[in-house]
Symmetry: C2
């Protein structure tokens, strides 16, 4: 693509069309694209590098807390899905179904057809989640309390047939991690569920700079088959909520369905206690919608694949050479701590490069020209604030360290302020509806626990209960819809 | 599983039944198991940790040589497979076919059935390899020589419907990496193909301690659609050959089929030059069959998830405490460099632990008992040789470093010697047949280039041409089968 092409296609402002802005950002930052296969995406190298960073950080946290990785089959026998009654009842049945196992040459023309002789006796489902296939294995592994806990995580691809797709947020195939643990006691399972929830919160806030509300899903919205489901919810810049991760206490439901039974310390047989939990490439969507602006992607330093881009400005070979020398010094000085990209492309102007790396959200940009060399300085530009300053080479390492830290903190703070400014304690039904149908945001309101009351708000506004925040004191209140007694507030919001 | 159970199930000796020995090793080392889903395996945590180490090392080598990771869809439209004529002709058509996208509740009874209304217009194939789906994307990405080279790798799961499966060696689903690059010139593509081949060789020899022959496949055995295919072949302890990795120069074949065209430096349109290459979880099978013995798995230190296991021997709390102190010292001293496992399980005897970690192939074992504490020493045991020695605590760090290095070298040397002792330059047909039908091994023989001549040997012995080794001088010879002129030897061997 040449310079002209790109300038013509600018990014739609958020204020004009948030959805189009989101699509434009992904395209301009070269993160992903739709595949020819309906509903599936291609995650391009720059987008995948973000996912790799997410994997690296989370994987380390999982391992530090005693989890090990393993791998279970992609394909699940159809009958497995029906073993746990509420799992099959509640789970979306839009799944990819494998019915045949062979192609043959088309006898009529070039190409291949499905061999009608090669029909499977029992259809196989591409995993929409792996509880059933994993717990089938666990039932063979667990005999005694000495086999517990089992603490396993899997990095895998998942297929759920989606009619309306959106890159990263909702695609037919996506990547995720799913943890599946087995414990001796109910308390152990609950502690694990909460521990993981806190890893998700910490990761979201301190790496993605994406503040989250930690909460519990209402009974009718929990994972099918779970005792209860915890989640983290993040507010996007359009004031809608993104469910960014879930952690389920499965109780003994699946253990009973899959016969995961063990002899406990007292010698009695009992069913095991389980948890499952996951985050996915959806987090990349959250990252985009939390920070980015009308100029492009903004990445927090702690997750950015490239922390600093250096753009040399020169007119001749001599200038280039003296700049190269200083770049070598920077690489040596700073490059061992941070991923640096040096953009020496000679068919593109510096201005175009500024623009391009801004779109890609690289936290810091260094510009070096002949005049900077003279003054033994560089120009340092922050992607988040646009702040531009001259920095002496001798101070550069220190300033970079400070700036990266400050960008990370400022992005979190900005997102927190945005969320707080768009969160409201509301005790009046009409007012809630007005906000939800207007600018939107998080409505903290009392709710009686009845699905019908949520449904009423949903009908009027499309907003739903995102969660019951864990971090709140009980207070006397009445359901915003029906007036029945309530002790806790829930969050109503539109969502992804 | 208790002590008694395990002792009863011993490992079948290699000399008795090599296949059963292989299965026993996998089971005893707890690497993997067959899933309830026919042909699919569960890779258990210890087996997956080996794969993670393989990934980590290879991923770094790919990145150091300019490759980036990305992710492409699991599902491929059926019509894509027919686009490249020899690809569809040559590629095995045993694929998992997705025909439907929804389940519904069974109206007759509990459970689910496939929704007959939800039939796909065009069937989707679960990737048996990703050339077609990736090159469909590349055709959109490549316009100018400035877009080249594209150097992308993908870590993914693959499904090929296999009737006869063997853990790690041949399963319906397996894990692999597949690199897919696009270049301006034929030479660039050939250089890339060879560069990757060398990465595979280096990895096999210096990490897996698995010596390989680097060679080219005969024309009739190359990857369907490739110009030519290079491979690495390793001899297993039963003298059969394992194809451990392949690197294909695809020429312009796929570029023509998928229309990957670019404007070159002279302003002319031309088709791009491509490569693809991969290694898979099959390498774990190779690792097992290269080194392990009748006592269990043997892992080279450079790939072992656990380098050292420490087994404390004590009878009371006091003894335990003094041992713990010394273990803390070892952990501090050695643990920062090497992964150490400390086995304090109190329901299992030291002898049973020795046995168990031997089965798991941990390179070094440290035993510490009260007498060792008195003498300020430990007992150090090598898994490969069984060598057992007393080492003073003050020398331990140094001895461990030396021993791990020596184990790594010795395993490679041993495997090389085994291969060399079972490799024969043969110029006589009867002699070749006799060896191939007897003890087996690598038969280096002249071959005219005709498939019929290979077929004749295959009929008599089941052996095939594994490769034409690259590292050989031309010499005058005659085909061992038909007597026609030949300038190079090929390797005949039975294989996996």
């Amino acid at each position: 693509m040449n310079e002209k092409d790109t300038k013509q296609q600018s990014i739609t402002p958020r204020s004009e069309d948030f959805s189009q802005w989101y699509i434009d950002i992904i395209k301009k930052a070269d993160l992903a694209e739709h595949s020819t296969v309906k509903g599936c995406m291609v995650i391009k190298p720059y987008g995948y590098a973000i996912w790799e960073n997410m994997q690296k950080i989370l994987d380390q946290k999982f391992k530090e807390t005693g989890h090990k990785n393993a791998y279970f089959p992609l394909l699940i026998p159809k009958s497995f899905l029906s073993k746990e009654a509420s799992h099959v009842k509640g789970f979306a049945k839009e799944c990819a179904v494998v019915t045949h196992y062979r192609l043959i040459d088309d006898p009529k023309k070039k190409g291949v057809i499905v061999d009608p002789e090669a029909k499977l006796e029992e259809e196989l489902i591409i995993r929409p989640t792996s509880e059933t296939i994993i717990y089938d294995a666990y039932s063979r592994w667990v005999q005694s309390w000495r086999d517990l806990p089992i603490m396993i995580n899997q990095w895998a691809n998942i297929v759920r047939w989606e009619m309306r797709t959106r890159l990263f947020l909702r695609t037919t195939e996506f990547l995720w991690q799913e943890g599946h643990t087995v414990h001796e006691t109910k308390d152990d399972a609950e502690a694990e569920t909460k521990k993981i929830l806190d890893i998700y919160r910490d990761f979201s806030e301190n790496y993605l700079a994406m503040p989250v509300i930690v909460g519990k899903k209402p009974e009718h919205d929990k994972f099918p088959g779970a005792l209860h489901t915890y989640c983290i919810e993040a507010m996007m810049q359009d004031r809608k909520s993104l469910q960014a991760g879930t952690s389920h206490n499965l109780g003994q439901n699946f253990a009973k369905a899959f016969n995961i039974e063990f002899t406990d310390r007292e010698g009695n047989k009992q069913f095991a206690w389980q948890t499952s939990w996951g985050v996915s490439t959806r987090l990349i969507g959250g990252l985009i919608m939390t920070h980015s602006d009308d100029k492009g992607l903004i990445l927090p330093p702690n997750i950015a694949p490239i922390k600093i881009v250096i753009i040399p400005i020169y007119k001749n070979e001599e200038e280039r050479k003296s700049i190269e020398k200083n770049i070598d010094i920077i690489k040596k000085d700073v490059g061992s701590n941070y991923e640096i990209e040096i953009d020496f492309r000679d068919n593109i102007s510096p201005g175009f490069k500024f623009n391009e790396w801004e779109k890609k959200g690289v936290p810091l940009r260094i510009e070096i020209g002949p005049k900077d060399i003279e003054k033994d300085q560089v120009v340092l530009v922050r992607r988040d604030s646009g702040e531009k300053k001259f920095v002496l080479m001798s101070n550069l390492k220190e300033v970079i360290e400070k700036d990266l830290k400050s960008i990370q903190e400022d992005l979190l703070l900005k997102a927190k302020n945005f969320r707080n400014n768009n969160s409201f304690n509301i005790d009046n039904y009409e007012e809630a509806i007005k906000i939800l149908n207007g600018e939107g945001g998080y409505i903290y309101a009392h709710w009686c626990g009845n699905k019908e009351c949520e449904d009423k708000i949903k009908e009027e506004t499309k907003a739903t209960i995102r969660c019951i925040p864990l971090d709140q004191k009980e207070e006397e209140g009445i359901c915003i819809v029906c007036g029945k007694k309530s002790k806790k507030r829930v969050i109503f919001s539109k969502s992804y």
